[in-house]
């Protein structure tokens, strides 16, 4: 085909498309009256349920306040990120460049989050992180337009060390998967445990997501620590809990962990999980009027029980509402918007929390023990705990 014919046909196609209105709405949409909210969450794969819980939470928070942001209607855009880090940048660009969203809410997987972080740092799009705990997002790579409503990976374990030393466990073994989240959780444990006067006698690890724990459990038995602290999540966590009990270690060497060890796996783990002590920023059984009211309303709307991910989604919605209200829906007024979000006080089902300087929650970390397939709250392990935000320079 000659280039002239190519030009002609393409021009004809564009004219045709424009005259039939195919292109016009896009131009109009960019300056439209609706706030464009993009959700980049996992809707398929291992984390699919987390994505759904987060989206439910966001909708619930916004619908409670009339379904608008600062008086403006909302247009939603959704992208399934599949928890696939290799597509992180591409998927984030679908929302930022193609759909021109005013705010991007996402995501669950830390690897994917790094892709989003790159895109929104370049474009300056407002980003709210409803789960992923990767340190860099609110540390070395922090940005004025990035806010997190969940936790950093080391935040739950940063409350763990002192609790263990207070209970008289002076020598501990740490065990986790050797990957970013496990290493970051270890940082929190190491800092708090050694500061409280404990000694970590051995750091055990296995490659993610290997679940053959027997060799390391044998090692733990021969090391004879006062206690074991760990970071595992999901199916591997259920298996670790059961293997720990089956090896006869349960009841002899107490098991502690970041709260994700006992989230969503207690039915699978059964009685083997009883007595495990964990630290986290939420618990389903948190006995406050605010939490009970939230749980009842959520269960009525979505016909399922909310979990920590639903709470984080709900708080993402609340944060966005407060920011939008302060600028009366004009999300382009960035300075005022960020200022409002920085100083927001979120009345969360987990308890009130505020934003740290690096845009990560300053929140209470609860001490929880597993009893009858429930994470029972037995106290507050650390009040208003903030992530260090080390290396964060907002410019």
């Amino acid at each position: 085909m000659t280039s002239r014919r190519l030009v002609l046909t393409r021009t004809a196609a564009i004219v045709g498309a424009a005259s039939t209105g195919l292109l016009l709405p896009q131009i109009a949409r960019a300056q439209g009256n609706k706030v464009r909210v993009g959700l980049m969450l996992p809707y398929t794969g291992t984390f699919a349920q987390l994505g759904v819980a987060i989206e439910n939470g966001i909708h619930m928070a916004i619908d409670e306040k009339g379904g608008k942001l600062g008086g403006r209607e909302i247009e939603w855009f959704k992208v399934d990120d599949e928890s696939e880090p290799a597509k992180g940048v591409e998927n984030a660009n679908k929302l930022v460049q193609r759909d021109k969203v005013d705010v991007l809410i996402g995501t669950v997987h830390s690897g994917v989050q790094m892709g989003i972080q790159k895109v929104v740092r370049d474009s300056g799009t407002l980003c709210i992180i409803p789960n992923a705990g990767v340190h860099a997002a609110t540390r070395a790579l922090c940005a004025p337009n990035v806010f997190r409503t969940s936790f950093t990976n080391s935040q739950p374990t940063l409350a763990l060390g002192k609790v263990m030393v207070d209970k008289g466990h002076k020598k501990a073994v740490w065990i986790t998967w050797k990957y970013a989240a496990g290493d970051e959780a270890f940082e929190g444990f190491r800092d708090s445990y050694t500061k409280a006067g404990g000694t970590i006698i051995k750091e055990l690890g296995l490659p993610f997501p290997n679940v053959e724990f027997q060799a390391l459990l044998t090692e733990i038995a021969s090391l004879r620590p006062d206690a074991v602290a760990c970071f595992f999540a999901g199916g591997g966590a259920a298996k670790f809990i059961k293997d720990y009990a089956a090896a006869g270690l349960k009841g002899k060497i107490p098991l502690y962990g970041s709260g994700f060890l006992t989230e969503g796996v207690l039915d699978a783990a059964g009685p083997a999980a009883d007595g495990i002590i964990t630290t986290m920023h939420y618990s389903d059984s948190l006995d406050t009027p605010r939490n009970k009211q939230f749980r009842l309303a959520y269960a009525k709307t979505f016909r399922s029980q909310p979990d920590v991910y639903a709470v984080q989604g709900y708080d993402s919605g609340q944060l966005l509402l407060q920011g939008a209200a302060a600028v009366k829906g004009d999300l382009n007024n960035k300075q005022a918007l960020y200022k409002a979000m920085e100083s927001a006080v979120i009345d969360s089902p987990r308890g009130r929390w505020t934003m740290s300087k690096s845009h990560n929650p300053v929140q209470d970390i609860y001490l929880r023990v597993v009893e009858n397939k429930e994470n029972k709250v037995i106290g507050i392990a650390a009040k208003a705990l903030a992530d260090s935000g080390a290396g964060c320079k907002m410019g």
Partner: protein, 287 residues
């Protein structure tokens, strides 16, 4: 590491190795005899685990779940062979890889629709739920010993079937020279259907037997698939005996690697594979 500890770790390695063997045996059978690369092998493991969970939680009987699951998996294997795999024997390996890769996604979605995405636990039957004390603070679950027993029984059964029975002779003949065996009156189509169903049943039963200790969760098949391939490659593609030796070797390297060289634990078995391939490019026991 003192002697007692060393012996316990040795027990761990053998036990892990035997479980790997059960998975890899089906894979190596299907490849060695039929020449089909079956990437969906791990999915059968996952389906087995979910089947064990759903049947045992419905009926309360783990034994019943195993029997029912074994029968179902044979039927399932025969049906799959008849409907899909039979049409792929003459195609190249790329077509087979694409087919079985697609099957992984289909099985994952079916699993998600039928059983959801939750993590589940399967209760160990009461008679096997005890633990034997090994040291003052470490005990060994009886169920793990039971698993090893089942794997050893299967290994012996497979050996006898292939080397001592008439069916086994036909299977070997078909693998050695398909056309000649067919000319001599061996019904190769039937043999292939049987071997394929056996491979599927081995993976499914492995998933069911392992479910009480491994828990049941989405994507559990893809983890075991890779390690099964490592075992098959080290052992020599198509060799059941090679798979057994390789599985025990991988169990040993993985277990002691985790304890002695934790930094390298993730890649030790792959280094083992590379070393074996350098030394014997066809694997330890190429048929």
């Amino acid at each position: 590491m003192d002697l007692a500890n060393f012996l316990i770790q040795l027990l761990n390695s053998v036990q892990y190795g035997l479980l790997l063997f059960m998975l890899a045996a089906g894979l190596t059978l299907i490849f060695g005899i039929m020449g089909v690369v079956n990437l969906a092998h791990g999915s059968f493991y996952m389906l087995g685990a979910y089947l064990a969970w759903s049947v045992s939680s419905m009926t309360g009987s783990f034994t019943l779940a195993i029997i029912l699951g074994a029968v179902l998996s044979i039927v399932f294997g025969l049906a799959l062979e008849r409907l899909l795999f039979r049409h792929f024997y003459d195609r190249d390996h790329l077509s087979q890889v694409l087919l079985t890769f697609g099957l992984i996604y289909i099985f994952e979605e079916v699993r998600s629709i039928l059983w959801g995405d939750d993590v589940h636990g399967v209760k160990i039957p009461d008679i096997l739920s005890a633990s034997l004390p090994l040291t003052d603070n470490l005990s060994y679950p009886v169920y793990r010993l039971f698993m090893s027993g089942v794997c050893i029984a299967l290994a012996i059964g497979l050996y006898l079937l292939i080397s001592k029975t008439r069916l086994g002779m036909k299977i070997r003949a078909g693998a050695f020279n398909r056309d000649m065996a067919e000319a001599l009156g061996v019904n190769i189509k039937l043999i292939h259907a049987i071997v394929f169903a056996m491979g599927v049943a081995l993976a499914t039963v492995a998933g069911m037997i392992a479910s009480p200790v491994s828990s049941v969760y989405p994507n559990m098949g893809s983890q075991v698939l890779i390690i099964s391939f490592v075992v098959v490659v080290i052992g020599g593609i198509g060799s059941v005996r090679g798979a057994l030796i390789a599985a025990l070797l991988v169990g040993l390297v993985d277990t002691f690697g985790k304890v002695l060289l934790p930094q390298l634990a993730g890649m030790l078995i792959y280094m083992l594979m590379a070393a074996v391939l350098l030394w014997k490019p066809e694997g330890l026991f190429r048929q």
